[in-house]
């Protein structure tokens, strides 16, 4: 279980997180929604330790994420980045098998390649993509490769940062379905940040609404439409009028 308690983070004079509290039970898919610039990415990166919070506590299975063996901690995670963040200088299969080619999870090269091709197949890509470079792929294919890389080492927890941003509706649907299938199949805990409501309904077990640095509402996705929370209502219906200022 991932738990955030009263997490604060500022960048200079800008307060991004102002006491965020959130609980993500093991094996569930939590989707965090909120407008651009509300701190969703900061929240996610704080859990991974890519950003250090100013105050508050983040725990994974009861242990503070800032303590203990960092490599062992990160080995439990997989992450799909917004722009896929594939390494330009490596071929597709080397990107997917990155973790399997070095460090504590190192495997023989042939075995790592085999696993990479299997993961590529799992996300709907043919083996002939394996030897191409990221710059030769479309945005949707890059996202799929990023997804294959995130699941290559069979992590317990997978983070998805804006998985459908920049994709057409059909490709977004494909990625959403893949994420849902993979999370269910692997029994992984998932944390997704997005402002795409179609993704929310396709991926989430639970939803949390982040606004102004705090979680305004959290609950099962089935209860989202009848929540009665004015912030959530305005966001999911995309209304310009409401408690959320349209110009931030």
């Amino acid at each position: 279980m991932i738990e955030l308690r009263d997490v604060h983070k500022s960048f200079g004079s800008k307060q991004v997180l102002r006491g965020a509290n959130l609980m993500i039970p093991k094996g569930t898919s939590m989707v965090i929604i909120g407008g651009s610039g509300t701190g969703k990415s900061v929240l996610l990166k704080s859990v991974l330790g890519l950003i250090t919070p100013d105050s508050g506590q983040i725990t994974l299975d009861g242990q503070d994420v800032g303590t203990g063996d960092r490599d062992a901690f990160l080995a439990r995670f997989g992450m799909l980045f917004q722009g896929a963040a594939l390494f330009d200088s490596l071929s597709v299969w080397q990107n997917v098998a990155f973790r399997l080619l070095r460090g504590r999870l190192k495997r023989p090269k042939a075995e790592a390649r085999e696993i990479a091709i299997e993961k590529l197949r799992r996300v709907g890509l043919k083996p002939d993509v394996a030897d191409q470079y990221p710059s030769e792929l479309s945005g949707g294919m890059q996202k799929r490769v990023g997804l294959a890389r995130a699941i290559a080492a069979e992590p317990e927890i997978i983070f998805f940062d804006e998985p459908t941003t920049g994709l057409d509706p059909i490709m977004s649907g494909v990625i959403n379905d893949l994420i849902r299938e993979i999370v269910v199949e692997m029994g992984a805990t998932a944390m997704t940040i997005t402002h795409d409501m179609t993704s929310v309904r396709a991926i989430a077990d639970n939803v949390a609404m982040l606004h102004d640095g705090v979680i305004k509402w959290t609950g099962p996705v089935a209860e989202m439409d009848a929540s009665g929370d004015p912030y959530l209502d305005q966001f999911i219906h995309g209304r310009a009028e409401g408690p959320i200022e349209a110009v931030r």
Binding site: K45, L48, G49, L50, D71, L74, A75, F77, G78, M79, F81, Q82, G83, A85, L86, F87, D88, F98, R99, R102, G103, R104, L105, R149
Partner: protein, 260 residues
């Protein structure tokens, strides 16, 4: 009032520069500590060695070749005023080996390598590839910085050595074809005049300049701002800082080696 405001701006800029120097020093120290802490990424090191060493050879070679030739012409013109034209081979040799070889080699590598390292790493930062490395349990200092710094520290002295030979050859070609020196005499004077310490001091300078170039490139790349502007600013700052630091380090090393 205007004077005080001007002083305040100047003070703020000095403080900002000192802060960068401090952070750069800590960055360099952290890089060095990774030398003795595994894991080591041999493939990345060899790749950096080719990129920094082998692929810089043409630009360093061309620079030193023309500089050696120009140096021979200048020394000939100057020494002719004292009827001391015979010093051309020895001054070309000592000038190339002690000063021009390492400094020009270092500057050309700064232009070619510091810029490309800074731009590459800054782009990786902007596109979240550095964050991706961390989530894949890979320390960016070990994977990106150490291989480049180590490769540059080892490759630049080799480039300087080759540049020295090519630069002396440039002086030799001009001396023999344009200034009517005897070919065998030119080479003998060059060989007899140079001492082991001259060559070594140039190679040590090369190693220091290589370390500076790669460390500065990595530092500005890792600390770049956002977007295309951030990448551009990081690249520019890396080249400027590396060049200035090469000149400063050259002066300090020259004091250490040749004033006792």
């Amino acid at each position: 009032m205007i004077v005080i405001r001007g002083l305040a701006v100047l003070g703020a800029q000095v403080m900002s520069m000192l802060a960068v120097v401090g952070r750069l020093t800590l960055f360099a120290l952290e890089t060095v500590t990774h030398l003795v802490r595994p894991p080591f990424y041999t493939r990345e090191f060899l790749h950096a060695l080719v990129q920094i060493g082998w692929l810089s050879l043409p630009v360093v070679g061309m620079t030193t070749l023309f500089t050696g030739g120009a140096l021979a012409l200048q020394i000939y013109a100057g020494s002719a005023r004292f009827s001391a034209e015979a010093v051309v081979p020895s001054i070309v040799a000592i000038g190339m080996v002690r000063e021009l070889g390492p400094v020009l080699g270092g500057l050309m590598v700064a232009a070619r390598v510091a810029s490309s390292i800074a731009a590459e790493i800054a782009t990786m930062k902007v596109t979240e590839q550095i964050d991706a490395l961390v989530t894949l349990s890979t320390n960016p200092m070990k994977y990106l910085t150490l291989p480049r710094v180590l490769a540059a520290t080892l490759a630049v002295p080799c480039l300087v050595g080759v540049g020295d030979v090519i630069g002396i050859m440039g002086g030799y070609l001009v001396g023999v074809t344009r200034l009517d020196f005897n070919a065998a005499t030119y080479l003998k004077v060059t060989y007899d005049f140079l001492e082991f310490g001259d060559v070594m001091s140039g190679l040590v300078k090369g190693a220091v300049f290589g370390f500076i170039v790669a460390t500065v490139g990595c530092f500005y790349g890792m600390n770049s701002g956002r977007g295309a502007q951030g990448v551009g600013a990081a690249t520019k700052s890396a080249v400027v800082a590396a060049s200035v630091l090469i000149f400063a380090a050259n002066y300090i090393l020259t004091e250490l080696f040749f004033t006792s």
